[in-house]
């Protein structure tokens, strides 16, 4: 299996805050990797660094062997890496179709061709019945679907999903999980930031855990849930008096 995304020594400071410190991990092609950690661990910042929205202080990001640090977001996208945002950013005044066509124009400037590509992406995420709905009138889950369809329309090879399940009810989470699995089955490499553990366990083959900007653990889902460092990061050491000795050991 080829390496789709290789991240090495990624660091970013905001004033005195070390948002991301020396984070490295590798994502294999067609693998789904989850990036987890408590609030403020640096997950979203990592996404910003990888996709060109922030420039890292140091480190490198290789997408299919090509350095993307220093590129602007639209160049990163053109290289085949698309992302969604934690807070959905639909083009509110546009219809669903127009939103997704805007993504499709990256690969084909012709309206008819973009429309065709956009419809495929819209069908894929299950928004087919709403293509003429104005984006601002969509429900939360449909806005997430739209974000994914718009990203898909740019024909990425790597898809970065930032908390696509936040704010969804359990039934919707199941739908979203099914969608992520479907995306993976279509051959995409996926990096997903998520808080919903049930969803992560269902989709990720590999998990990277961040805390205070640093990578504290990495491995298969089963190893991660039993890792004392991870438990400590999430729950704090005082909750688990028995685990405390292990954590300090």
């Amino acid at each position: 299996m080829a390496e789709a995304l290789v991240i090495k020594g990624l660091s970013k400071r905001f004033g005195g805050l070390r948002a991301v410190q020396d984070v490295s991990f590798t994502v294999q092609e067609n693998e789904t990797v989850a990036l987890i950690g408590p609030n403020g661990a640096g997950k979203t910042t990592s996404f910003h660094l990888i996709t060109g929205f922030h420039r890292p202080d140091s480190g490198s990001v290789l997408a299919f062997g090509q350095e993307v640090v220093g590129l602007r977001p639209h160049d990163v996208c053109a290289l085949g890496m698309a992302r969604t945002f934690q807070v959905a950013k639909p083009f509110g005044a546009m219809t669903v179709l127009a939103n997704v066509m805007t993504g499709a124009f990256l690969r084909d400037r012709h309206v008819a061709a973009a429309q065709k590509k956009a419809r495929e992406a819209i069908e894929f995420v299950g928004l087919g019945a709403k293509e003429q709905t104005r984006a601002r009138d969509l429900t939360t889950i449909d806005q997430r679907r739209l974000e994914m369809a718009r990203a898909l329309a740019t024909q990425p090879r790597i898809l970065l999903l930032d908390e696509v399940m936040a704010g969804l009810n359990p039934a919707e989470i199941d739908q979203a999980v099914a969608l992520v699995k479907k995306l993976s089955a279509s051959g995409l490499t996926i990096v997903i930031v998520e808080h919903v553990m049930r969803a992560i366990m269902a989709v990720a083959r590999h998990i990277v855990v961040l805390d205070h900007g640093q990578k504290i653990a990495e491995g298969a889902p089963k190893e991660i849930v039993e890792n004392p460092e991870v438990i400590r990061a999430y729950l704090g050491s005082y909750v688990h008096p028995t685990a405390q000795g292990d954590a300090h050991a």
Partner: protein, 328 residues
């Protein structure tokens, strides 16, 4: 979305015939003057709307390009005897070039800061033309030599000729807008206006798209500047770089509906006719009352119909016909 194609062409044809025939039936010089003002400000609004409306980059400095266009053609005509028809295009090109550094500076800022920066650029240009007298007549300006009937020098004895010139400009502006609106550029502009980060994330080179549309917008605005100077046979910095031009360009679009093809035209028709009527009815009785009423209308539109009259009309249309709101 395409409404039934044949109907659209029918309306366009009717509109064209009415617009072309109008000066033949309306002979009052006062009325023609109002028509010319309406067409001119519609055109400036259309030029502004490309960037201010579709991409929501609220510029209040388009007078910069109006003035650059006006001065370029006037300097070429008065100093070198070059026809304003050529000067007009030259003015457009100069405005395009001027928009590059201005855009480079202003587009670093977003929202209100961008707007303030655009105001400043127009003011700075006005000051330059005020202070450097050797360059272009300074504060007193200059009159355009009257050659009588000289169509090749953009001078006409009939007011209706000016009407046709500015009508032609408006048609060109609308045609360009229509071409942009239905192409990928239109989608990119609206996407940038809605959320620049989201647009970047899906591959939109926002700085480049903004720069390009700003150039087109500046070019068209400069054409209006040349036309206006030729029409009033006079130029000075206060007129050419008038803040009113910047305001009017934005206002007519906002009132009519930003980011729509016909918004600036409808906005201008409403504002200019209201202003002209109020002036003739109330102007002599109580000083300033026509401006007060005018301001109230503006406030009413902005408060209750922020999508402009086009947005209002579209909503009513879809509600009464029970069709889905469609905007692509």
């Amino acid at each position: 979305m395409q409404t039934s194609g044949n109907m659209k062409w029918l309306w366009l044809a009717i509109g064209a015939v009415v617009m072309l025939a109008l000066p033949q039936f309306v002979t009052s010089s006062f009325a023609i003057d109002i028509f010319i003002r309406i067409l001119l400000f519609s055109f400036i609004g259309v030029a502004w709307n490309l960037m201010g409306g579709y991409a929501k980059q609220l510029s209040l400095g388009h007078a910069a390009y109006f003035g650059v266009g006006a001065y370029t053609s006037t300097i070429m005509q008065v100093n070198y005897g070059i026809s304003p028809w050529i000067g007009m295009i030259a003015g457009g090109v100069v405005a395009m070039l001027a928009s590059l550094p201005i855009g480079w500076l202003c587009f670093r800022l977003r929202g209100p800061y961008f707007t303030i920066a655009t105001i400043a650029t127009a003011q700075v240009l006005m000051l330059i033309f005020l202070k450097f007298r050797d360059f272009a007549w300074g504060a007193e300006g200059t009159t355009i030599p009257n050659l009588g009937s000289a169509p090749l020098m953009m001078q006409f004895e009939e007011k209706s000729s000016y009407y046709y010139v500015v009508l032609g400009l408006l048609v060109v502006g609308l045609w360009i807008t229509h071409q942009i609106e239905k192409s990928w550029i239109g989608y990119y502009l609206v996407a940038i206006g809605e959320d620049e980060d989201a647009a970047e994330a899906i591959g939109v080179n926002a700085p480049k798209v903004k720069r390009d549309i700003y150039m087109i917008s500046a070019f068209l605005t400069a054409l209006a500047g040349t036309f206006y100077t030729q029409y009033i046979y006079f130029i000075d910095p206060a007129t050419a770089f008038s803040f009113n031009v910047s305001i009017e360009a934005a206002l007519v679009s906002i009132v009519g509906g930003i980011g729509t093809l016909w918004g600036p035209v409808i906005g201008t028709v409403l504002l200019e006719t209201t202003s002209a009527l109020l002036q003739s009815w109330l102007g002599s009785s109580v000083g300033g009352i026509q401006l007060t009423v005018y301001s109230l209308i503006l406030m009413a539109v902005i408060l209750w119909r922020p999508t402009g009259l086009i947005g209002f009309a579209t909503d009513v249309y879809h509600r009464t016909l029970r069709r889905k709101p469609a905007r692509a």
